[in-house]
């Protein structure tokens, strides 16, 4: 297997965007290719979760490739629900590691703020088991079920869960690409509108537009792809015996660390999938970044803050940077690369190993990616 390196990264500002999805993807791609100093990649991998439903376009790899002037470059599309960006990154990695390509552009994004929220929820909800969906289960509803179980097990308190949102908003203040670059207080989070008991509005990520891109190469650069792991679980959450940790994350982390040849103790910073604030606490323990039962206290005592032992979601995370679905897994990797190469501006932290964690659906198809500064 060949070593795979990150040649360049780029992303759009995340938020309410008036541009078409193709424009957002072209902007991110041009930034990443410019950063890499590559005019034309050997191949393109496109990540988009629901472009048919959100923007009405299909055959999306060809659509995007042609739109940005790469009609002659082989392109394919990857989809694993909300982790599509991380999955596309894996596909690009596999193409290079197998010796099939020398440079691959991986680009992902989503455009959805032009639709009404109930419509967006319904489209995202199609990634849920059909029976559970027929009972009105949306992503926030399933997250509410998991959060109630988490609190009942004394694995986390609502205060600790709320502190995740406070921390990630504080980080986003320093991120010019963030959807919500403003701070929130613990009281504001805990008193925000109830969405799915016990989850409140400020525990949930927003609906965002945006795109991110990464260029992978065989040539040595400043950042090496150390490991990638994929983990899966049943589509229906009622088919799982354990609700307070995600098998898909545990399996993905296990495989990523096995490929990298080191363990979680080497990780200096992490971008975790905090679509709902309690998911950051679950991920910290599933990946082994904190000992079992310690995620809440680690968050409360500042270990995961930007100036802590292990900065988590320095970008602001899905919570405050925003969650443009298929763009998110790649936006996490963009942030990790910026952090490892000293280009994260005011939110810069120090470290040599960065971890990105992406959840697909309700933790049915998760990814852990490890990047190492060379």
């Amino acid at each position: 297997m060949r070593d795979v390196w990150i040649a360049g990264v780029g992303m759009t500002r995340v938020g309410r965007r008036s541009e078409a999805l193709q424009d957002l993807m072209a902007e991110a791609s041009q930034k990443a290719l410019g950063d890499a100093g590559i005019d034309v990649p050997d191949a393109i991998v496109v990540a988009a979760m629901n472009p048919e439903e959100f923007v009405g376009d299909g055959n999306f790899a060809s659509n995007v490739a042609t739109y940005m002037g790469f009609a002659d470059v082989p392109a394919l599309r990857i989809e694993t629900a909300t982790s599509s960006g991380a999955a596309a990154f894996f596909a690009g990695f596999a193409e290079i590691a197998a010796g099939l390509r020398r440079t691959v552009l991986v680009v992902g994004g989503e455009k959805m703020t032009h639709l009404a929220t109930p419509r967006v929820s319904e489209i995202i909800g199609r990634s849920i088991d059909p029976y559970e969906r027929s009972y009105g289960a949306t992503m926030p509803a399933l997250a509410g079920l998991i959060t109630r179980a988490l609190i009942a097990k004394h694995a986390a308190t609502l205060r600790e869960i709320s502190q995740v949102a406070v921390k990630n908003h504080a980080n986003a203040v320093l991120n010019p690409y963030a959807h919500f670059p403003h701070a929130v207080t613990l009281d504001e989070v805990m008193e925000s509108r109830v969405v799915a008991e016990p989850l409140r509005l400020l525990h949930c990520c927003p609906i965002s537009d945006g795109a991110a891109a990464v260029v992978l190469t065989t040539d040595r650069t400043r950042v090496r792809l150390a490991g990638v792991g994929q983990g899966t679980d049943t589509l229906a959450i009622r088919h799982r015996r354990v609700l307070t940790s995600f098998r898909a994350t545990e399996a993905a982390a296990h495989d990523a660390f096995a490929m990298a040849g080191f363990g979680p103790e080497r990780v200096d910073l992490a971008e975790l999938h905090d679509a709902f604030a309690p998911f950051e606490l679950i991920a910290l323990e599933d990946i082994g970044l904190v000992p079992p039962g310690k995620a809440g206290s680690a968050t409360m005592n500042g270990e995961t803050a930007r100036d802590g032992r292990l900065p988590v979601n320095p970008s602001g995370g899905l919570k405050a940077r925003g969650h443009p679905l298929a763009g998110t897994g790649l936006a996490q990797i963009v942030e990790c690369v910026w952090q490892l190469t000293g280009r994260a501006g005011a939110r810069q932290v120090s470290g040599r190993v960065a971890l990105a964690h992406s959840i697909g659906g309700l933790a049915t198809n998760n990814w852990v990616t490890l990047l190492e500064a060379a």
Binding site: E122, Y131, G136, I146, E197
Partner: protein, 141 residues
């Protein structure tokens, strides 16, 4: 009345799912039909205050672990007095399953069924002790 809920069981790992599925989620084998009683324990529950299209808010949703092992997703008319671990009945109203507190009659029926099982166990233990004593005597003689 305690309702029965259609389910299916994996011949390989014995996992039971409800409603029934064609294949086991973890094994590529056809599942066998099974039936479970509509009673169980609340695993977790939520109240959704922004229900999706076609549903009215607030929407009470629970995961109930039915006796027999399958976890089941259902609605509730309310969650007052419901806790994780609460014993509930699950029954269909217009083909939609709802959880509710068990009525006094249902509780009595369940109690007798449990004591019935316990009684059988006591009988079995008594029988095996009796046999051993009998064999011991035979050996001694």
């Amino acid at each position: 009345m305690i309702e029965t809920i259609p389910a299916s069981r994996c011949p390989q790992c014995s996992m039971i799912v409800a409603p029934p599925a064609a294949y086991c989620p973890r094994h590529p084998v056809k599942m066998i039909s099974a039936v479970l009683p509509g009673v169980g324990e609340v695993v977790t529950f939520t109240t959704l205050h922004s229900a999706p299209e076609g549903f009215r808010s607030p929407l009470h949703i629970a995961i109930v672990e039915l006796e027999g092992g399958a976890r089941f997703v259902c609605h509730g008319a309310e969650t007052r007095g419901i806790k994780i671990g609460s014993h509930v009945a699950v029954e269909a109203v217009d083909e939609v399953y709802y959880f509710s507190h068990l009525g006094a009659l249902d509780r009595a029926r369940l109690f007798w069924r449990r004591t019935g099982r316990a009684g059988e166990r006591v009988n079995a233990i008594a029988r095996s002790v009796g046999k051993r004593v009998w064999k011991g005597r035979q050996r001694a003689s």
